[in-house]
């Protein structure tokens, strides 16, 4: 810098702008303030990190501060914060920004489709099912205490039949040691069953009332698919990772927009559908092994599907009922062959 530039000086005592002229003289900065010249060696100055093309702050040894238009010579001064220089260099370049964008797109889409489900499955394998039990027990206790689950109205004969059907299905599976079935009356659940973390499957009275024994076995086999596949834990791992990544990307905009908190839910839906399909496939195989046709699964889905005339979107937690029925029918046909 051979030419003189103007800058603002702030004395640190009053927030008042003092216009000064700056000029470089070798490795010295000459500050001219109302006719008076002060010389500072570059080594005694400290410059703030570069931020886009904004003005930069230069600390003088006497506690005063200069506000200078950004210029190349500023990079020759010692930095206030050494570590930021490299990031600032990256931020200046469009080539870097576009490469980052390309990398992010590849990283995130690969991670979402192939990476995270594989990692979650591998982690779930290393954690024994017993570790989940506290979660499931606590959940069941809470639902019971809040009377969202109520004691079953079914007679001992019916519940005994359900239990023996369950034990028959679970015999020989790795989860046999820990899985159990509970029967509850619940408006919340409706005609359905649910697998809690830790291998407890809850069956609702309403389902038992409406299902044939084979159909009930089909539902139990599906829920056992969730237990065997460690779906509760995998879902938790996947959903929390998705939530963290989405929060990292959109976090800056939480106070300047609405509805972005729905993004993780939309992304989790496809994972949830994958797990349902996996549980269905497991169920078909298990049913065939016990000499029950997967048609039983199709017929109970048809029965329950009539409750709500369904239209499906990619963002539903379950795959479309028609698809699931079709797969069950195909599995039944394959078995007949």
């Amino acid at each position: 810098m051979n030419d003189t530039v103007t800058a603002d000086l702030f004395d640190g005592k009053y927030p008042i702008r003092v216009p000064v002229a700056l000029r470089c003289d070798g490795l010295n900065l000459v500050v001219t303030r109302s006719g008076t010249e002060n010389r500072y060696a570059f080594g005694e100055l400290r410059v703030s990190p570069r931020v886009a093309d904004s003005k930069r702050f230069v600390d003088l040894p006497n506690g005063e501060q200069l506000l200078c238009p950004n210029a190349a010579w500023l990079d020759r001064l010692p930095a206030q914060v050494a570590s930021e220089g490299f990031v600032a260099w990256l931020e200046q370049r469009w080539a870097v920004a576009l490469s980052c964008l390309a990398l992010l797109v590849i990283l995130l889409s690969f991670g979402y489709v192939h990476g995270l489900p594989v990692v979650a499955r591998a982690i779930a394998k290393t954690i024994p099912l017993e570790r989940e039990q506290a979660f499931g027990t606590r959940l069941l206790e809470t639902l019971d205490r809040q009377h969202l689950f109520q004691p079953t109205n079914l007679d001992a004969k019916t519940t005994g039949a359900i239990r023996s059907a369950f034990h028959e299905l679970v015999a020989g599976l790795p989860a046999e040691r820990i899985a159990r079935v509970e029967i509850r009356r619940s408006e919340l659940l409706g005609a359905n069953a649910i697998a809690l973390p830790g291998g407890t499957i809850v069956v609702a009275d309403e389902l038992v009332d409406r299902a044939t024994p084979d159909e009930l076995s089909a539902v139990l086999a599906h829920e056992l698919g969730h237990v065997e596949g460690r779906h509760a834990l995998r879902q938790l791992l996947q959903a929390s990772t998705v939530a963290l990544v989405v929060a990292t990307i959109t976090g800056d905009a939480t106070s300047s927009s609405v509805a972005i908190s729905s993004i993780p839910m939309l992304l989790d839906a496809s994972y949830s559908q994958d797990l349902e399909n996996e549980a269905d496939a497991f169920a078909f195989e298990l049913l065939i092994r016990h000499d029950i046709s997967p048609d039983a699964f199709a017929s109970i889905m048809e029965k329950l599907g009539k409750d709500h005339d369904s239209f499906s979107t990619p963002f539903d937690s379950h795959p479309s009922t028609e698809e699931r029925i079709e797969r069950a029918r195909n599995a039944a046909k394959d078995r007949a062959r």
């Binding site: 603002d8 702030f10 004395d11 640190g12 005592k13 009053y14 927030p15 008042i16 702008r17 703030s48 931020v51 886009a52 093309d53 904004s54 003005k55 005063e64 501060q65 506000l67 914060v81 570590s83 930021e84 990031v87 600032a88 990256l90 931020e91 370049r93 469009w94 870097v96 920004a97 980052c100 964008l101 990398l103 992010l104 990283l107 995130l108 506290a134 979660f135 606590r138 809470t142 205490r145 809040q146 009377h147 969202l148 990544v245 990292t248 990307i249 959109t250 800056d252 905009a253 106070s255 300047s256 927009s257 609405v258 509805a259 972005i260 729905s262 993004i263 709500h308 005339d309 239209f311």
Partner: protein
């Protein structure tokens, strides 16, 4: 339509500021001067800052987020000009990182005790209630200490006990703890339980606006610009009214929908009704939040001053409504790519509507004491989404 009352309020605020000015602005030391205040960062520049720091944060599994925060804050401060001079952000990443680790630990403790080790939940909540005042004071002190304007740094002299008083005087936090603990023991078939929980929830929703106001007052009145202590004159009643009006606005569409739903349920397709109800609830929420943010922003800034420095904010609910909606849609549709655009738009709007005015001379803000403050408190406030900045 949303901001009818809001706009009137803002206009009268600006009018009163204008009236107090002489017809021909003669620049004497006493005439109030409207200071320029603007955000001049460009979306393109911020996009580059954002994407570089985002990638580095993700590939380091979040460790870099402390550095990223400093870079983004620096950008925002450096492009916010008051009277033509940019602000300066001077925090270092390492204390922020330490704070984030502490905050993550607290969050995990809360998550585990509310889901698995529920026996320990009361203890965690009570400890949390006593840690919260510390977080409030530390964040305020941190925000002051590492911000600078014209080589001067604001100082904060609030103490833990000041914040403790605020936390327990308007018992929003105790009500929240009671609510959380009762919820897990709730028996919906027992009406007495439900009524007690309902009453506590009602008390909570009344106390929240009061608590919010008391916190803002604490932070403002303990912040010093040079020797000028902050002055805060927002009443409890005004804050409560803002929240109540926003609440009514938010629930109006749902109420209308319920009436509609009852009238048409006989012929209606249940999926159509559910879909329509969701849309109504969303727009109710959007309207309520836009109204509340505009109203609160105006109310608070209107009643905050430091010496001769005061503000005549003119946020409009309908502008906020449109910004929130268009930003949200743009972010979802662009899979997050338009986050920097959304951020810059909102910063520009908010800055353009603050209208700071200086009566007297800058010389009254002579330099104050400088003290280093640990960043831990400020970061714990960050992750729990408690924004204590005005």
């Amino acid at each position: 339509v949303v901001g009818g009352e809001q706009t009137g309020f803002a206009i009268s605020a600006v009018a009163s500021a204008t009236v107090s000015q002489p017809e021909t602005p003669v620049r004497t030391s006493q005439s109030p001067e409207r200071l320029s205040f603007e955000f001049v960062g460009s979306t393109k520049d911020y996009f580059r800052v954002w994407i570089v720091n985002l990638l580095l944060t993700l590939v380091t599994f979040g460790v870099f987020s402390a550095w990223a925060k400093v870079r983004k804050k620096r950008f925002i401060y450096a492009h916010t000009l008051l009277d033509g001079t940019p602000f300066q952000y001077t925090a270092k990443p390492i204390p922020i990182l330490k704070g984030r680790i502490l905050a993550a630990t607290l969050f995990i403790a809360y998550y585990l005790t509310s889901n698995v080790f529920t026996v320990a939940l009361p203890y965690v909540l009570i400890i949390g209630a006593f840690v919260l005042p510390w977080i409030i004071v530390r964040s305020a002190a941190f925000n002051c200490r590492y911000s600078a304007f014209r080589n001067l740094t604001p100082s904060f002299d609030g103490t833990y006990f000041d914040a403790l008083k605020v936390t327990f005087l308007m018992p929003a936090i105790p009500a929240f703890i009671a609510m959380t603990l009762l919820q897990s023991h709730l028996d919906i078939s027992d009406h007495k339980d439900t009524i007690i929980l309902g009453l506590i929830a009602l008390a909570f929703s009344v106390f929240v606006p009061f608590w919010f106001r008391d916190q803002k007052k604490l932070v403002t009145t303990h912040t010093l610009l040079g020797e000028q202590r902050g002055n805060f004159t927002v009443s409890h009643r005004a804050i409560f009214n803002s929240y109540a009006a926003a609440g009514l606005l938010a629930f109006a569409p749902i109420l209308a929908f319920t009436v509609f739903g009852i009238l048409f349920s006989a012929m209606g397709n249940p999926y159509f009704l559910i879909g329509f109800g969701t849309v109504m609830a969303f727009f109710g929420y959007l309207t309520g939040i836009a109204f509340l943010q505009a109203k609160l922003g105006n109310l608070i800034w209107m009643n905050v001053s430091f010496g001769g420095l005061f503000f005549r904010p003119a946020l409009r609910a309908r502008d906020m409504w449109w910004l929130y909606l268009s930003n949200g849609v743009a972010i979802i549709a662009s899979l997050g790519l338009l986050v920097p655009w959304a951020v810059v738009r909102m910063l520009r709007y908010r800055a353009s509507r603050l209208n700071p005015i200086l009566e007297g001379e800058w010389t009254v803000f002579s330099g104050g004491a400088n003290a280093t403050v640990a960043a831990a408190g400020a970061e714990a406030g960050d992750i729990f989404d408690l924004d204590f900045s005005l």
